[in-house]
Amino acid sequence: MNAADLSRDARAERWRLFGLSIPALFLITLVMILPVGWLFLLSLQDENGVLSLANYRRLIEQPSYGRILFASFEISLLVTAICAVLGYALAYLLSQLPPRRAGLLMLGVLMPFWTSILVRTYAWLVLLQRDGIMNRFGIGLGLWRTPLVLVYNMQGTVIGLVHIMLPFLVLPLYGAMRAIDRDYVRAAANLGAAPVQVFWHVFLPLSRAGLFAGATITFILCLGSYVTPAVLGGGKVVMAASAVATDVELYFSWGPASAFGVVLLIVTSLLLFAASRFARLDRLFGGGA
């Protein structure tokens, strides 16, 4: 009888609540989705505004773009690998400590998060200089003779990126490790596994999901990084983001810049998609707690 009224009321209420999110959606659409969409369209136009794939062809024809993309991948892979090894050790240590102490040390890990990236990059500039602390330390301790060139090059960029990305990897990994039920470790030991075997056969597999999540975030952020390579690379390390920026700032070649940006976006999205698939598959096979 009043079923129709009731359902109408219910629907109105639901829409009202959903409506609370409209302002935010509007802003994001305006500031992000539309501009990126515009860029996408731009990439599909040639200089005269006619629809064409000229920009993408240029990406393929001009070897510099391919090289830059490849270099970006290389660097990101290297940084992610370093972070994975170092980050795993750090996350493991923190996960084994009592929660309060671990929380305190976690503040140290998170510290880079609340310091501006410019401050950190500047700090590395200072540290890695020819007569900066690193070199003075190393030479003073007799670790090396001539000052190492650690900045304005690939080495400096990698060091800086590792510093920026390490917290991104440690955070999800730590969470996953903390979630591993202690009983698993006890059961493995009880069944005869020596401590190293417990780690290898039980702990490591159960922390895989967290490691993967952290590594994916790290890789994606590295791929799109701009500030660190720009400052610490000294112009010698050109990554994808720099290429896009230069195209726009210097050459005003919006077409190729947009195309390259779109390529970057597609690669990133594919990676995220693949990662989420893997995570779900991992759960199917019972991975993680």
Partner: protein, 272 residues
């Protein structure tokens, strides 16, 4: 020595056997923390050249910073933009979090995904896209333009933080309040917000920092009349190593630390 022989784990590993892990952990933590900390003493160095440890102390770089109209203006701009971003992002993001969580519609998940998009898209793309749009809209070089862009970046963070807090909150309290005569909005403001205020505050602070620390977008859309602190710092870093930057960095660290400390101090024990 005895502490070393004690077992660290239930499986019988002693602290001694784990020493390498402790050492590595300490080194890594130092690696993470030191660079930031080093900037502070550097800012008090009297020398023009980068030297550490500073041989003579002076406040000249702070004076340099405070006396420079350009730096002062940039700071004011950054603070203004950040404050407005904090307000806008927090209000919009909190409303969205509450609405999406409680509407019970399936399209809420899509909306949530869209709202998280800024995290997924490479910043450089957003930067040039916004630049392109702002040229057309005449929003280049304006505080409003910066606030809109930074808020868009900050909304996902607000959404994540506030949603998590709302999910842990008991919705029946709002129901009780409404049964006692409060409107939905009234119940939200009087009952829910006080209990999730820590999360909302954290979200606001993170939004502030997002605006304050943002570099890439600011590089493209600020400048001229309204350059941000980050833009000027970036250019200064690229051009020459001016120790004034150390002074500014120290101040930025101080601001961030104070904000985060105040958030942590206000944290109730159950993390409400």
């Amino acid at each position: 020595m005895n502490r070393l022989k004690a077992t660290a784990t239930e499986t019988g590993i002693t602290h001694a056997r784990r020493l390498w892990l402790y050492v590595l952990g300490a080194l890594l933590l130092a690696f993470l923390v030191l660079p930031t900390v080093i900037v502070i003493p550097m800012s008090f160095s009297a020398s023009q050249y980068l030297e550490f440890p500073p041989r003579h102390l002076s406040l000249r770089w702070y004076e340099n910073y405070l006396q420079s109209a350009a730096w002062r203006q940039a700071t004011v701009t950054s603070l203004e933009v950040s404050a407005l971003t904090a307000v806008l992002a927090t209000v919009l993001g909190t409303a969205a979090a509450y609405g999406l969580l409680n509407c019970g519609m399936r399209r809420a998940r899509w909306a949530g995904a869209v709202l998280l998009a800024p995290i997924m898209v490479p910043v450089i793309l957003v930067a040039i896209g916004v630049f392109y749009a702002y040229v057309k809209l005449g929003l280049l070089d304006s505080v409003a333009g910066l606030v809109l862009a930074d808020s868009a970046l900050a909304i996902p963070i607000v959404l994540l933080v506030v949603s998590a807090a709302l999910r842990g909150h008991d919705t029946r309290q709002e129901m009780a309040a409404r049964s006692l005569g409060a409107t939905r909005f009234g119940a939200f403001m009087r009952v829910t917000v006080p209990q999730i205020r820590f999360a909302v505050l954290t979200a606001a602070i993170l939004s502030f920092l997002t605006g304050f620390d943002e570099v890439v977008i600011a590089l493209f859309i600020s400048g001229g009349d309204h350059p941000t602190l980050t833009r000027n710092m970036f250019n200064a870093l690229r051009d020459q190593i001016d120790p004034t930057i150390a002074a500014i960095s120290t101040l930025m660290i101080a601001v961030s630390t104070v904000l985060l400390a105040s958030a942590l101090i206000g944290k109730p024990r159950d993390g409400g």
